[in-house]
């Protein structure tokens, strides 16, 4: 199996208010099509790890590979480009641009990438919305749709550039069990049918148990 994401000897310190060793020598790999969850108690460093893996946090020691290419130490503009093209995000809070329509929200990362024409991007965006059964919301303002729907719009946005991996920071944390189930099924289907890699930080044990692999963290270390 092709390795999509690889972390080697990741260490991170918080310097304020006191020096604190958050992540201690983290090593792991994620292969293509793998659905991985990260579990752990609050404060164990799992979200911190996720934001390092997402390339948004660059203040760490160790090496990070995406599609076997070293991305540690790249300049910020290049990292932005990598995020745009290869990584999709789903957050606990749905983080849509509330003044834009659902369709525009989904199209935005592709417009930024600017590899396709406007018509192609629009077509792709509607395809993604159809796949998630929310194409009827396309013209609505992002602020006017419900929480579960917003999360599905966020997933559609994460998918628009056909990324190598999708990362989620408690994507079901703010949803009721029905919607959480729904989101999990979407992730599962993306992993099985589209061969997409997923890395999800979660508190939800049921959710974690259904994934292909669970990484257990405690006090900044991987214990399982």
């Amino acid at each position: 199996m092709r390795v999509v994401l690889e972390a080697k000897h990741i260490n991170k310190y918080f310097k304020k208010p006191v020096l604190f060793h958050v992540l201690k020598d983290i090593n792991f790999q994620i292969s293509q099509g793998e659905f991985v969850s990260i579990m752990g108690k609050s404060g164990c460093g799992k979200s911190t790890l996720l934001y390092i893996l997402s390339t948004m946090d660059t203040d760490y020691e160790g090496e990070l590979f995406l599609d076997n290419k070293l991305i540690t130490g790249q300049d910020r503009d290049h990292l932005s480009y990598m995020r745009n093209k290869h990584i999709g995000f789903v957050f606990q809070f749905h983080y849509l641009l509330s003044e834009f329509s659902v369709l525009e929200n989904v199209m935005l990362p592709a417009k930024k990438l600017a590899e396709k024409s406007y018509q192609e991007i629009e077509y792709n965006a509607i395809e993604k919305l159809k796949m998630l059964n929310i194409e009827h919301l396309a013209k609505k303002r992002a602020s006017q749709v419900s929480g579960g729907e917003k999360q599905r719009v966020a997933i559609a946005r994460a998918l628009i550039n056909n990324p190598s991996i999708i990362m989620g920071d408690e994507p079901t944390g703010n949803l009721d069990s029905h919607n959480a189930e729904n989101v999990f099924n979407i992730f599962k289907r993306l992993s099985d049918e589209e061969g997409l890699s997923l890395l999800v930080v979660t508190h939800d044990e049921d959710f974690a148990n259904k994934t292909d692999r669970t990484i257990q963290m405690e006090d900044g270390k991987i214990i399982l």
């Binding site: 934001y51 948004m56 932005s80 995020r83 995000f89 983080y95 641009l97 935005l108 550039n161």
Partner: protein
């Protein structure tokens, strides 16, 4: 790298959804630029009018024979007293003639100079206006009326009659309006004048002269050169003054110096004669610009404030844009372009507002004794003011947008997302 289409569409959406704030920020610029244009047009209009009041009638160089004491007294020419301290009491001015020697050749020499627009001969003399037994003192100046009208805008100050009439009428006089009022004279009447050395000459009134300066109007009259030469009983080469108008006023000082040396005459240039005038003009301009710049800076702070608020409101949007692959520079450009759009729209409206207000002021009646040719408030609508105003609008909004947008560039998305 910047993808302008996306950046501008985001900027546009932000501006349109906050249309109230946007228009308040733009209005700040509009009022700033509008009042700048109005103020500058009005102030420079007034300045130009006041300057013209003096400068139009004033020659750039005035050449005449000054009555003054000799610079070197005879004693200093005598070698035997060279080593001693000589004190000469009550020095009298040197007796010299009023007329300029060889005036006509000098005039034709000056007119050949490329810098000179025209050199006009004048004869100045003191006379009395005689009304019954009353004698009023005054000045009578002999001129070439048509040339004076062309070079020194004489026609602007002729309230009745014309320069042509003076040129064409033998024994005609262009009477100061103050004298005419004192002696209740009207156009076509005759007035008797008497030169200092005696005799009376009746002159026909062909027009009235009003300079706007009451003291001058109460004594000054004009006639043509031939008439005055006849009154004074002088030959037709008798010229007491030469007034020179140049193409470029800056050349007045060096040329005046040259004339003094070359012809041994007194030559006063306009800068020396009206030094206090220049100071007044530059101080007025300074005030105008100080007020305008203050207005524009206030407008700039308005934009700064509103963009700052906008960025606080849009923290989440900024974080999400960065998380989905927009670089810090893209985010900065989004907010910069918002500032520039506000500046552009506000600036254009400001130019229109300024144009409107200035045009309005230009229609307000403004009549004053001192300024016979002015009916409405003077407005100087120089395209340069519009260019300066617009440039300043763009620069100040650019600066006002730069600081907040730089903050937006530096926002760490992780902190915002995890802070929830």
């Amino acid at each position: 790298m910047a993808n302008w289409k996306v950046i501008l569409s985001i900027a546009k959406t932000h501006l349109l959804t906050k249309i109230k704030q946007t228009s308040i920020a733009a209005l700040g610029v509009t009022f700033g630029i509008g009042s700048y244009i109005t103020l500058v047009s009005f102030m420079t209009g007034l300045n130009t009018m006041l300057d013209d009041l003096i400068l139009n009638q004033t020659p750039h160089i005035h050449v005449y024979n000054e009555i003054e004491p000799s610079k070197a007294q005879p004693v200093s020419l005598y070698d035997d007293f060279k080593e001693s301290l000589n004190v000469v009491h009550s020095i009298k001015p040197k007796l010299s003639q009023k007329k300029i020697h060889n005036a006509l050749p000098i005039i034709s020499y000056l007119e050949r100079n490329e810098a000179v627009r025209g050199a006009l001969p004048q004869i100045k003399t003191q006379i009395f206006y005689i009304a019954g037994s009353i004698e009023l003192g005054g000045n009578l100046t002999g001129i070439n009326p048509i040339d004076e009208a062309n070079l020194f805008n004489m026609s602007d100050y002729i309230v009745e009659g014309s320069a042509e009439a003076l040129q064409n009428t033998d024994n005609g006089i262009l009477l100061g309006i103050g004298i005419a009022e004192k002696m209740t004279l009207k156009l076509g009447d005759r007035v008797q004048v008497s030169p200092i050395n005696g005799g009376t000459f009746p002159l026909k009134i062909v027009g009235f002269y009003q300079s706007g300066i009451a003291e001058i109007d109460a004594i000054q009259s004009f006639t043509n050169i031939k008439t005055i030469q006849r009154i004074l009983g002088e030959a037709n080469n008798y010229i007491t003054d030469i007034n020179i108008k140049l193409f470029d006023i800056e050349k007045a000082t060096p040329l005046a110096k040259k004339i003094e040396q070359q012809f041994n005459l007194k030559a006063i240039d306009i800068k020396t004669a009206n030094a206090q005038f220049e100071t007044g003009t530059s101080v007025r301009n300074l005030i105008t610009y100080a007020v305008s710049i203050t207005l524009l800076i206030v407008a700039g702070f308005g934009i700064y404030n509103i963009l700052n608020m906008l960025i606080y409101e849009k923290m989440n949007d900024i974080a999400i844009l960065k998380a989905t692959g927009f670089s810090g520079k893209d985010v900065q450009l989004i907010f910069m372009s918002q500032a520039m759009i506000i500046g552009f729209a506000g600036g254009i409206l400001g130019l229109l507002l300024g144009f409107g207000l200035a045009s309005l002021i230009a229609t307000i009646p403004f009549q004053t004794e001192a300024l016979p040719t002015v009916d409405t408030y003077p407005i100087n609508m120089n395209p340069l003011f519009f260019i300066i105003g617009f440039t300043f609008a763009m620069i100040s909004t650019c600066l006002a947008g730069y600081l907040p947008s730089k903050k937006a560039k530096k926002i760490d998305p992780v902190k915002i997302i995890r802070g929830q």
